[in-house]
Subunit: 413 residues, 2 copies
């Protein structure tokens, strides 16, 4: 994989020109893309910028994010050839930081569940996960050092786990969703994929102009709470193994890791996540569902058909539970710095029919807390399995520092 | 003015066909529009729908809201002739409820402060207010019974006050902003303009499928707190008179109205509103500001130039204050059902250079609470001045019932 931080160091030192760094990505795309199929379209006349912390960094943008100079097709024929007038805010933020957009990455239609044809670079017989399929795959395949995705259920952390890359779903609205196709405004969160945690930190810091997100010299030893999310069911063997390995690693590195029981209202929040998502989806996709019913992606359309009956009162009650869950979760972070849990039930499912199950992700999306995927285990078939590092609302620096500690501990095992 | 509720009654009884109701609006537009200048563009081949609670109701849509079959120009040459692919969620919700979109209404560029050429129907020498200039004016001029606007500072309640129409800025995210040009995602709120409070209730209930918003037989007598917002400065004579008249009316109608002192953290929230708005605006308008600087509306561009230096930490602190303010305000509503305050400092300013001052509105936008404008007083020159009725977060039914009580009390004076 291409390390963003390493590229930055080489560019800053003069060892590599920004232009050469971009060319390196373009060459990697030329070599890999015909196998992986992770780009919907590619930019022409791609050039490095000559300033900004992300100069020389080639980025891929999930194709539900508006781009003024590339089509934005949302993974759906309803938007075939669609050209927005403006860039999404996050796209402009990347450009302003010096990055070069090299193309749009595949997305399940409208970031829901209808799969793409993208292959998992770790094992071509398996899904890369979704909905940010292309963004996870292009980083895993070493095509580019940074991509953007979105998560409404588990669409950043899950594909990152399946593809063996680092990813962050930052605190709710740390990154704006302006110009990003909406699924659920309470949940939709823009996230980043990169080779490692340090790379995420440099990317997110540059985009947001937040120096506090930059990695410190050595992350301090965090107090770690381990959460099994029993309300979401049991993980598969490989999901459990990933967390076991991570616990062993952090304990060897001198951290304490103790089991934490989440309050009942947090479990309740997990259960009402789909009520929030589906009620808002009916409004977010109101035009598509009403004016383009036949052209809707079948799985999303079926989901909307099934959830038609959700009453406003049920949604209002769900939002109240979410608020109570957030307050209760804040209490948990009085005693621990980070939580450690599954990124996904197990390794990437076989075939491309399913993009996998977001059941270990959706609570954290609803809570709005920052989550980082760290690859922790390799299952049969070379399939990676990650763990999820979670910090309190607004503490993205803490989530990144904790994830870096876990990543380093795993590297020393 | 055209009363939505009255039109509904006549259509339901067979006294008026839905088609005839639409034609009535089209005729009124033909008669008034050349003077007022409140439409950016008008729909062709307009027809009534034959079902839905809003059949026969002609609506105007603020031109920062996407429409699939009409241009959406945002009041700016940057979007001249722009045709979105989809309707904004609120547009589809109106159509699904049976309404007929007859055109797009004028907006200050990007819903900021650069004025439109629209005249105030009550006095052509005065501004109709902004940013939802056209939506307030077309209802005031009796052209259509219902329009949509948006409020980030005071862009719904203020023009409603200046034009002498009822309007509601509902609870934050009761109406989705999907497909509405973003200024500040923490603040932007879609609102409705109509002839009277009952009309707002029928419109909002039909759009949201929330029967609890429909007006009851007789609104119960509310406990009223009067708020002078001293932190925002003193009102003009006419603004103060509007509240005085409203207090007299509700007291004669049997309600108690007592002065309420807002907690200091609420005043603090008022002060940091611009920090939230401007910091988010830099992201929401990132593409326009970076790629179209010269074509930006001058007042908005100047505002962005001036607020460039806001640090992320200042914004984060402002969001914390907003959260504390919301919690403190919820406590106030333990003792009162509604708050009564100024809708604007006074009557509409003379000329079109300024759309007026949102200083009595912006706190409530940041608090996310439902606000209703009720016309209460007529100043020199026939210029109306409204009062603002405010209920607790999520209690839109209470805000509408309270506003209806105030409206009825004023009618009996």
């Amino acid at each position: 994989m291409l390390s963003l931080a390493e590229l930055q160091r080489r560019i800053r030192s003069g060892d590599l020109s920004a232009e050469a760094a971009i060319v390196q990505s373009l060459d990697a795309i030329d070599a890999q893309e015909k196998t992986i199929g992770a780009f919907v379209c590619r930019a022409e006349n791609v050039r490095a910028q000559d300033a900004g912390p992300l100069r020389g960094i080639a980025v891929g943008i999930k194709d539900i994010m508006d781009t003024a100079d590339l089509p934005t097709e949302m993974g759906s024929p309803i938007y075939r050839g669609w050209r927005p007038r403006a860039d999404a805010a996050v796209v402009t933020m990347l450009k302003a930081a010096g990055a070069t957009v090299v193309g749009k990455t595949t997305t399940t239609a409208f970031a829901a569940n209808d799969p793409t044809a993208t292959l998992n670079p770790r094992n071509h017989d398996h899904t890369p996960g979704g909905s940010s399929s292309g963004s996870a795959a292009v980083v895993a395949a070493g095509m580019v050092p940074l991509t953007l995705g979105t998560q409404t259920g588990g669409s950043v952390i899950r594909p990152a786990s399946f593809c063996g890359v680092a990813a962050i779903k930052p605190t709710y609205r740390l990154l704006p969703t302006v110009g990003v196709k909406c699924f659920s405004w309470t949940l939709d969160t823009v996230g980043l994929f990169a080779a490692g945690v340090e790379d995420l930190a440099h990317g997110l810091s540059a985009m947001t102009n937040r120096p506090e997100l930059l990695p410190g010299a050595a992350p301090r030893t965090p107090r770690i709470g381990v959460v099994t999310q029993d309300f979401a069911g049991a993980p598969e063997t490989d999901g459990a193994e990933a967390v076991r390995v991570a616990i062993r690693a952090v304990e060897q590195a001198g951290a304490s890791a103790r089991a934490i029981q989440l309050p009942e209202v947090v479990a309740k929040a997990w259960r009402i996540h789909p009520v929030v998502q589906d009620f808002e989806a009916h409004q977010a996709f109101a035009w598509e569902y009403r004016a383009n019913y036949d052209a809707m992606p079948p799985l999303l359309r079926g989901r909307l058909d099934e959830s038609k009956g959700i009453m406003a009162a049920e949604y209002d009650a769900a939002l109240r539970v979410a608020g109570q869950g957030r307050a209760a979760l804040a209490g948990i972070f009085e005693d621990v710095d980070i939580l450690l849990t599954f990124s996904a039930p197990g390794a990437a499912p076989k075939g491309l029919a399913s993009t996998g199950d977001p059941r270990f992700n959706r609570l954290w999306t609803l809570m709005g807390v920052p989550c980082v995927n760290v690859p922790a285990h390799v299952a049969d078939g070379g399939l990676p399995v990650g763990v999820q590092v979670i910090a309190r609302f607004g503490d993205d620096a803490g989530a990144l520092a904790g994830a870096r500690f876990v990543e380093k501990a795993l590297a020393r095992l």
